[in-house]
């Protein structure tokens, strides 16, 4: 699937998630399935929660006990392949990287989109962060239905 369409299978996606009971606080999900020479997620993490090691081709491993869900890795990943997610009652709160115009604004309702580029529901924009150190990659916090936990990946106006 991934090799032919760019869309990972559900079982592959789930390998990157912790147990749902760990998601009461935000955790980083590194959707990095292929060994490429790259390690900014690991070197940018202030909590040493993401390990790649000497060989920068290795896949990142997240220590979910150390990860605070701060989101620094989200805008540091050159592949835009990391997001954070937390579960709050019936909602899932995601922090995603975003590099398209127009920028979303807080309290707007955008479309929730899956990895196939299809609309799967609504996404309420909670925060839009753009600091100089993010180097023009927006960090957008959105709220979607909890049942979209493994499907949601980005937003569309």
């Amino acid at each position: 699937m991934l090799n032919k369409t760019g869309v990972p299978s559900l079982s592959l996606i789930k390998t990157k998630f912790p147990e749902q009971n760990k998601l009461f606080k935000a955790k980083a999900i590194t959707e990095c399935y292929e060994e490429i020479p790259c390690n900014p997620c690991s070197t940018s993490c202030p909590f040493e929660a993401i390990t790649i090691g000497e060989d920068i081709n290795k896949l990142p491993v997240v220590d979910f006990d150390k990860c605070t869900g701060c989101g620094i890795c989200v805008y540091s990943c050159p592949g835009l392949a990391i997001f954070t997610v937390a579960l709050k009652k019936e909602k899932a709160i995601f922090k995603i990287p975003y590099e398209l115009l127009p920028y979303p604004k807080v309290d707007e309702t955008w479309k929730a989109v899956n990895r196939d580029g299809l609309v799967i529901g609504e996404a309420i924009i909670k925060k839009v962060i753009l600091k100089p150190k993010q180097d023009r990659t927006l960090l957008v916090e959105v709220e979607v239905d909890k049942n979209l936990l493994y499907d949601f990946i980005t937003i569309k106006e």
Binding site: N39, D55, L100
Partner: protein
């Protein structure tokens, strides 16, 4: 005639990096660049780069260009730069002739580093000469260097990293990318790039190719077809799509033309992108005073070109009698960086190509 210790032909990532290290070692160099700007292909790369911190990972390509250029400008006493200057002749006695504003010049060098990069590969299909058929790199130059929107509706042919990245950047610029087609059975580039464009609604379809472009004075439609596992066209698989541009991104060819003017030994090594100069570990060609680095000696990512540039600058300086004060440390560091960049699945091809090269590299 101008006399120079080291002349570097091509001011892209490899050439700039070579100049920086050679200048640090005390060698006076001249960078000759055909374009009006230094930085090579980096200046149009708006995405963040992979690699590690040493190769400026997570920095956008255009900002890496600024860093490398600034590094050279710090050595203004030693590094001279000529832009909009084309090398039109290279001679065995290390005389280089250049063209700038209709003026020819002659430069004599003790050593030469050729870092001319690579050019886009093209391929044959009906009407491929219609206006609207572009190389993906050309589209990127129009968009990101000159701010020109190249088309409204495009199809991307080829799913290597360039095809995937340019598709993403076209989408960012408000151009509709209908799909990316790939003749091979799997996506060629990094899957993170593929996932990034798939989620914004651009489908990637493997085992498909373009059969012809259709249009009177410019591209109006394309016919695409499916391929079977033996690369034959599948019957009744034809699909006609309305587009106003076709982007071709089917790979790069090392730009070794200048080297053939001085009979440098070359070899066809498909893993390195085609005909490449045969080099030894020190990046010396069959003429020991002519070095190469970057894509001209094998097509790879810019991160490798940067490290190769540093390494070649270091060696060329030493051979000119100016050993860098950190020679030993840097020598080992650059070799390790290159090995690290190439030790994943994507680096296998390069390593295999370099092994094949070694068989012929008794040119020291």
């Amino acid at each position: 005639m101008i006399f120079k210790d080291l002349v570097i032909i091509g001011g892209g990532p490899a050439g700039l990096s070579a100049a920086k290290i050679a200048a640090e070692a005390g060698v006076s160099c001249l960078i000759i660049e055909r374009d009006p700007f230094l930085g090579g292909q980096l200046i149009k790369q708006t995405h963040m780069f992979f690699g590690s911190e040493k190769q400026y990972a997570k920095t956008r390509g255009l900002d890496i260009a600024k860093i490398l250029i600034d590094d050279c400008l710090k050595h203004q006493d030693l590094i001279e730069i000529m832009t909009s200057t084309t090398v039109v002749g290279l001679y065995k006695d290390k005389v280089i002739t250049t063209l700038h504003d209709d003026t020819y010049n002659k430069i004599k060098a003790k050593s030469i580093i050729v870092s001319t990069g690579a050019s886009e590969r093209f391929f044959a299909f009906e009407n491929n000469d219609l206006p609207g058929v572009y190389g993906a790199g050309a589209v990127q130059t129009l968009m990101n260097v000159y701010g020109v929107k190249p088309a409204d509706k495009v199809i991307m042919v080829g799913s290597g990293n360039i095809g995937l990245i340019v598709s993403y950047q076209l989408h960012q610029a408000g151009v509709k990318v209908l799909k990316v087609i790939e003749a091979a059975s799997n996506i060629g580039g990094y899957k993170v790039h593929a996932s990034k464009i798939r989620r914004i609604g651009i489908p990637i379809e493997t085992r498909k190719t373009i059969k012809r472009a259709i249009g009177k004075d410019k591209v109006e439609q394309v016919e695409i077809v499916s391929l079977d596992d033996d690369w034959n066209i599948v019957d009744n698989s034809s699909e006609i799509i309305d587009v106003d541009a076709v982007c071709i991104s089917v790979g790069l060819i090392p730009q070794r033309n200048l080297l053939s003017m001085i009979d440098i030994k070359t070899k066809f090594i498909k893993e390195l992108g085609g005909i490449v100069p045969i080099i030894n570990e020190d990046h010396q060609t069959s003429d020991k005073d002519v070095y190469v680095c970057g894509d001209v000696s094998g097509v790879e990512e810019a991160s490798s070109a940067i490290v190769e540039g540093y390494y070649t600058g270091l060696i060329a300086a030493r051979n000119l009698g100016k050993e860098h004060q950190d020679f030993k440390t840097l020598n080992i560091d650059y070799k390790n960086q290159l090995l690290n960049l190439r030790s994943g699945p994507f680096g296998k091809k390069t390593l295999k190509g370099l092994e094949i090269m070694k068989e012929d590299a008794n040119v020291k």
